[in-house]
Point group: C2
Chain length 355, copies 2
């Protein structure tokens, strides 16, 4: 537990920088079903040959071959994947924050007083510049109001509806289509070799669980994320239910990632995938132990097909959001493999043309 | 999260009542390996025919037959088992509390000052009457000192050693042999029918995980229990590690059970097994939802082969520890099935002669 007070430890740059780009804050876009990602039978079909692909193939070969010194029993084949920026697009704004902003008009319908209360008044104004200038404290009020206070079943239904209706500004597609196809193939390849794949995300555990099975093939119990506590109670008819409380229980970012892994999984991963300083401790934790281990960092170096940000562009730390040169240097020193979106991936999304 | 302060919500009657019966507080008993439980191929072989056995067979038949209206998809076949008093002996004292008391001499070796500090001085005195009279607050000090402050790896190694060495007072066997063979058969029968079996215990999550796989066939990630937070840090050589902190993160008892189930599993069980008021909310939570559900309560009504306590003996609430007449009445009203240890079980333990 990081704090007894609610404090969503979000990176303001990532949260804020994209708000001006939002298409709309209402949730009334055309309906579109979440589509299953298509895959080829060839492992890692969307990967170019190169050191990143080879590192994955070598790791799986060595850890699953009983004759190899690095053989790992199936029950210890645990792989952890960060979500935002590792499995799907995080730039220019976390999708879950879009969800929270999109929910504000619904909250105001239920509670019209919010229309004259900040920060809700600003969010409802649609003034993107003003929204982008909200303080982190004000943004937290929006997150708390939209992520807590309802039953867990109500929250799940609201997120499910939003995932179908909402579309991102650039690709005009549901957010769940903005999954990196090559990373999905890594998950599938690991699972087909006896690995259990976990999402270990700074995003909301209950949020990601709504789509984890359908989108990633990861069952809800294998999603570890930032979590508010819940409170058991009874409805008037005596039916028990759980309410999402405005209390931070797990802050699944930075040091919180290995801490949550211990709590939720109880085994140390031997493979971990991340992209930002929020993943540093998880990668360090995974790195230590007997036998072969695989640590990989996704580099956002493809401004044409996705976004370019981070040390690959030679930008100073102050300009690269959650990635940092120091992490990149640590990765090089420790032999963690970098994944260049530009060079290692034939395509980024399932909807991209195949190479 | 129940409290920002550490507060192990233990039932004083159960904790204290058996201290006078402890054989020894040192951990120097003969070594004995944890033995695998033997089982027959026949499902529920240690059960007598009767309504309890039939309820289990009917439930599994209906939920796994695709032609049945109550068919449940494999991914939703979740069964939750309380541990103390449901899977193994809790009377006259929780085994984990014995572990904590047994650890005190080792703590005093490392920190001789404890020898003159209460409650450690009393525990070290070996005066069982005085130990049994320790207040709950004093006992909590012992639990905190013995369950937190070390790395998670050190804790695991200590528990593993204790499990081999320590023996209970009555049966002169390792605690992990005091598993109820019929309940183990229920777990195995459910798993062989596609169910995922979880331990959901008020006991320590890290404690139970040390033996869950070997003793119950339940992998560590399927153990949900009371949990202290951990803290990520680095050793002097830069190696990352986790320390068990004296902060209660999950209080997995009463309302905390459904709350932890939501956090850790993310799906509602459709079968739940308990024995005490600590399981009430879990049973109520499991009871609500579409389709068939199975809720069962183990009754301790066999003073000869195990212990007799609870409403089956007609004792008033004040005399029956964690069981209560009110829970028994609720179970009857809601159709939860009672398991009579005396009548439903051919044998209690794997080491009992077969009937």
């Amino acid at each position: 537990m990081k704090s007894k007070h609610l404090s969503f430890d979000i990176n303001r740059r990532v949260v804020i920088s994209g708000i001006a780009l939002l298409p709309t804050l209402s949730g009334t876009l055309l309906s579109s079903a979440i589509q299953a990602q298509t895959t080829s039978n060839e492992p890692l079909a969307s990967w170019n040959d190169g050191p990143a692909k080879q590192a994955i193939l070598d790791f799986v070969r060595d850890t699953t071959d009983q004759g190899n010194a690095n053989f790992v029993r199936p029950e210890d084949r645990i792989a952890a994947f960060d979500q935002d920026g590792t499995m799907w697009v995080e730039h220019p704004i976390y999708s879950q924050v879009v969800y929270c902003l999109d929910r504000v008009p619904f909250l105001a319908e239920q509670n019209p007083k919010l229309r004259s209360v900040e920060p809700f008044k600003t969010v409802l104004s649609g003034n993107r510049q003003a929204i982008a200038e909200l303080s982190l404290h004000e943004l937290e009020k929006v997150l708390v109001a939209t992520l807590t206070g309802m039953s867990v079943d109500e929250f799940e239904a609201e997120v499910r509806k939003w995932l179908i209706e909402a579309k991102d500004a650039r690709w005009k597609r549901p957010y769940t289509e903005l999954i990196y196809q090559p990373m999905l193939e890594v998950m599938q390849y690991l699972r087909s070799n006896g690995y259990k794949t976990y999402i270990v995300t700074g995003g909301g555990q209950d949020f990601v669980r709504v789509y984890s099975d359908q989108v990633y093939g990861v069952p809800v119990e294998q999603v570890v994320g930032t979590a508010a506590g819940t409170k058991f109670g009874y409805r008037k008819d005596g039916t028990p239910f759980l309410t999402k409380e405005p209390k931070l229980l797990l802050n699944d970012d930075k040091a919180g990632k290995p801490e949550s892994i211990h709590l939720m999984i109880g085994r140390k991963p031997i493979a971990a995938f991340g992209n930002s300083v929020g993943d540093r401790e998880m990668l360090e934790y995974t790195d230590v132990g007997p036998g072969k281990r695989l640590m990989m960092l996704v580099l956002h170096d493809d401004g044409r097909r996705e976004y370019a940000y981070g040390p690959a562009q030679g930008l100073p730390d102050s300009k690269i959001g959650t990635f940092s040169q120091a992490l990149y240097d640590e990765a090089k020193k420790k032999g963690w493999a970098a994944i260049s979106m530009k060079n290692d991936w034939k395509r980024i999304f399932a909807f991209d043309e195949k190479a």
